[in-house]
């Protein structure tokens, strides 16, 4: 009974503090919401801010030319299909366009050189379309380059056809190579490359209905939950410091309560705090972001393992601080660095160096993150077993180291 009273006291103390509730539940949800707002609002993943593009057409095609390169480029970039990526803009000349790109007023400029159409129609020489981009918009500039490359390929098609036909005609001894080449060029192109018929049908991988955004939000939420559960574990363990300083530990010792009960009550309190926090975060994130955490049994086991891990880490950390004033900075630094190495801040970042994944396995947070990823993938107990076992073993190991240290502190406090 005393055990429960002590645990209830710690639980009440923790949850009646608005600040702690904010850090335990509010901030993880807030940070996940922030990233959801940043990347999830489109429902299809990251969306680029449209890039304003001006086409500077220096070309003056002959009146009888069958097409004009500048017109094809301008029409392609101004296509309604690209309205979410590119916004047509104007600039009187190349120098102004450069100046405006440098100032950030214009996202990019495409310069169609003088005699572009004549060069293409002659089949001789290379036509170069120059793209000036804003270095502060590298991703959008990459997209523009890809689009323009497709347009350029459309323009090249006629030239390639002429070259191949002429070469083959000569090799095969067919007379009139030049005429045949011109006919081939006229048949094949040019035309804007983005108006091609659908040559590729793209489908997203089936993964139980989980889209990229859902997966990203779920992994970010898992990372935030782990980070702040570890914080709560450390803060819960540090309650003993405050009681030592306030003298309540001595008063407790004056009552007929054994050290084992005091310690047990403390651990039960920490465990209860963590379980309530985890359950709240799982439920609220499910409601707010629609995260499906996985099957009930694996999720329950993962929650228990996370609580053991966080409590063990908190108890071990306690050995490195003497006063409650020291605990804030020490916990802050250690939990931030281990969380960072454990991959909690790069949970959804693609193409991370392999060393990052290896380093994560040296931290309890890294194992916990693996465990929750396995749960989110919908794995059964068998599927999550390796990371579950790893997380439990680390947690129990940390408790085995931390409990004697905490017992010593109790003894000192008496």
């Amino acid at each position: 009974m005393k055990l429960l009273t002590l645990a209830w006291k710690d639980l009440r103390r923790q949850f009646r503090s608005g600040l702690l509730l904010l850090l335990m539940i509010g901030v993880p949800l807030l940070l996940t919401g922030l990233l959801y707002f940043a990347f999830g609002s489109t429902g299809t993943g990251p969306a680029l801010t449209p890039l304003s593009v001006a086409v500077i057409d220096l070309d003056t095609p002959a009146a009888l030319a069958p097409f004009a390169v500048g017109t094809i480029v301008a029409q392609a970039l101004g296509s309604p299909e690209l309205a979410t990526l590119l916004v047509p803009a104007t600039a009187p000349d190349a120098a102004t366009a450069r100046r405006r790109v440098r100032a950030g007023d214009l996202g990019a400029a495409v310069i169609v050189p003088a005699h572009a159409t004549a060069t293409l129609l002659s089949g001789r020489g290379v036509l170069t379309l120059e793209v000036i981009t804003d270095p502060a918009r590298p991703l959008a500039a990459g997209v523009l380059s890809d689009i323009l490359q497709a347009v350029a390929d459309g323009l090249s098609a006629g030239g390639v056809a002429a070259r191949v036909t002429a070469e083959l005609a000569t090799a095969q001894g067919v007379p009139g190579a030049a005429l045949l080449a011109a006919r081939a060029a006229a048949t094949v192109g040019p035309g804007p490359g983005i108006d091609r018929p659908a040559s590729l049908v793209i489908t997203a991988p089936r993964e139980g209905g989980s889209s990229f955004v859902k997966r990203m939000v779920a992994e970010v939420m898992a990372a935030m939950m782990i980070f702040f559960v570890f914080f709560s574990g450390a803060y819960g363990a540090s309650a003993v410091l405050r009681e030592q300083e306030e003298g309540t530990l001595r008063r407790l010792a004056a009552t007929p309560t054994s050290t084992a009960t005091q310690l047990g009550g403390r651990f039960l309190g920490i465990a209860a705090i963590l379980v309530v926090q985890i359950a709240s975060l799982l439920a609220l994130s499910g409601l707010v972001f629609g995260i499906g955490w996985g099957r009930p049994l694996p999720v329950a086991l993962a929650s228990a393992a996370l609580a053991v891990d966080a409590a063990g880490f908190g108890v071990v950390l306690l050995a490195f601080v003497k006063t409650s004033r020291q605990s804030g900075p020490v916990f802050g630094v250690v939990l931030t660095v281990t969380g960072m190495v454990g991959g909690l801040m790069t949970a959804t970042m693609p193409s991370l160096p392999v060393a990052f994944h290896t380093a994560a396995l040296f931290t309890p947070q890294g194992w916990a993150m693996d465990l929750w990823r396995a749960c989110l993938a919908g794995g059964d107990v068998g599927a999550i077993l390796p990371s579950l076992a790893g997380t439990f073993v680390i947690g129990v190991g940390l408790l085995a180291v931390g409990v004697p240290l905490m017992r010593r502190r109790f003894a000192r406090g008496l």
């Binding site: 904010l22 036509l127 379309l129 991703l139 801040m345 693609p350």
Partner: protein
């Protein structure tokens, strides 16, 4: 003036004699900068082969399909991975797990349909919501487009030459396709990209395609995002220490005792403000120096612009510290307010990732925060080579926020009972 400076000196001694302050102010931001810079650098492409692995299911099995697979391999961006029967059934899972960037299926009869002039579409399984999936889709699409153009060329040339050529039509077509694919390695029309005002030659020219050099989300040098981002984030975090001094002074009654002396209230407020400004200014300058010397971030490209931005950022951050210190009653409230401010302002303001990749709505909301303007100014200086006039607007916005926060803090400090 001397009295204000005495208050400043007292605050600085109080903050800096605690060695943990150095950890908060300098070591943490340095660690975060290095970590995120490395994470953004994309070193994880693995084993020196940066090509994207794309699983290929060749259900057609004909010569044209074989030729397409060879074209994918020759593209330079892709590494085709022929899938056996067993792995074909798990194409979705292979992509989902990240074992393959994409899986391309060439359906049965694709080659014959292509020859007949009515090509069937190919099927690509990939997650275009991820950077890898998007890159794979673009590279596959570009290769297929060129392949189809080559096939159109071969068909056209064959139709024109077959009646009078020595080779039979099929052989002529194969030869024409071979020549066309080779010709596409050196097309008639090229695209050359150049970044206007970019600092580094290596990152300034992207060659024929935006994928080729330094055009990822974080640019040529990932520290161009990580270094200023962490400076902005920890300028907010660092003010916790300064704000804490105000609260502790008030709680311990030192503030009331100070006001009992002939030191005017204005001198006390000015002294505290100057201390906060000095701490944040010192922190930013050290982090910029580290970025310049160790990480290749060109803060000194336009020193006056950087100096003006540093001052404006420090002024804003110090005024936020004053505001929190003026309103908070306990140390816990300082910590909570500081952490909330740091997370919200950093996330919304583009300190963690460029606002470019968040879409117009988030970008617009982000610009309600001073951090977004600070990041804009840093990016203008570092990436566009912007001068003092180029960052005038962000500087004015930062100074406006600083004035607003400082005025609110002073109003609170003046009215607050001692």
């Amino acid at each position: 003036m001397m009295r204000a400076l005495a208050v400043t000196r007292k605050d600085l001694l109080q903050i800096l004699r605690d060695r943990r302050a150095v950890v908060f102010l300098l070591l943490m931001p340095l660690a975060f900068t290095l970590f995120f810079g490395l994470a953004f650098s994309g070193l994880g492409e693995g084993g020196g082969d940066a090509r994207l692995q794309v699983g290929v299911v060749d259900a057609d099995g004909g010569p044209l399909a074989g030729s397409l697979v060879r074209s994918l391999s020759a593209s330079g961006a892709l590494r085709p991975d022929p899938l056996d029967e067993l792995r074909r059934a798990y194409a979705d899972e292979l992509v989902h797990r990240g074992d393959e960037a994409a899986v391309l299926t060439i359906p049965p009869g694709w080659g014959a349909a292509l020859r007949s002039g009515a090509p069937h579409p190919l099927e690509l399984v990939t997650d275009t919501g991820t950077a890898t999936g998007l890159a794979a889709q673009r590279a596959v699409q570009a290769t297929i487009d060129r392949f189809l153009a080559a096939e159109r060329t071969a068909a056209t040339a064959t139709a024109l030459l077959a009646p009078r050529a020595r080779l039979p039509a099929d052989a002529l077509h194969d030869r024409a396709l071979e020549l066309a694919l080779a010709a596409w390695q050196d097309p008639t029309v090229r695209v050359e990209s150049a970044q206007e005002g970019a600092a580094r030659g290596a990152g300034a020219t992207a060659g024929a395609s935006g994928r080729e050099a330094g055009t990822g989300a974080f640019g040529a040098n990932p520290y161009d995002q990580a270094s200023p981002g962490m400076i902005v984030q920890f300028a907010v975090y660092g003010l916790l220490l300064s704000a804490m001094v105000l609260v502790i002074e008030r709680k311990q009654g030192a503030h009331a005792r100070l006001l009992g002396t002939p030191v005017p209230r204005a001198a006390v407020i000015a002294g505290h403000g100057l201390a906060m400004l000095s701490v944040v200014l010192g922190q930013i300058l050290v982090l910029e120096a580290f970025g310049q010397t160790a990480l290749g971030v060109h803060y000194l490209r336009h020193p006056w612009a950087t100096l003006a931005l540093t001052l404006a950022l420090a002024l804003w951050s110090a005024s936020l510290g004053m505001l929190i210190g003026a309103f908070a009653r306990t140390e816990q409230q300082v910590v909570a307010s500081g952490l909330l401010a740091m997370f919200l302002l950093s996330g919304l303001g583009g300190a963690w990732f460029p606002l470019e990749i968040t879409g117009p709505t988030f970008t617009a909301v982000g610009h309600l925060t001073p951090t977004a303007w600070a990041m804009d100014a840093y990016r203008t200086i570092l990436l566009r080579g912007g001068t003092l006039s180029g960052v005038a607007v962000p500087l004015l916005v930062l100074l406006g926020f600083a004035a607003l926060f400082f005025a609110l803090a002073v109003a609170r400090l003046v009215r607050r009972p001692t």
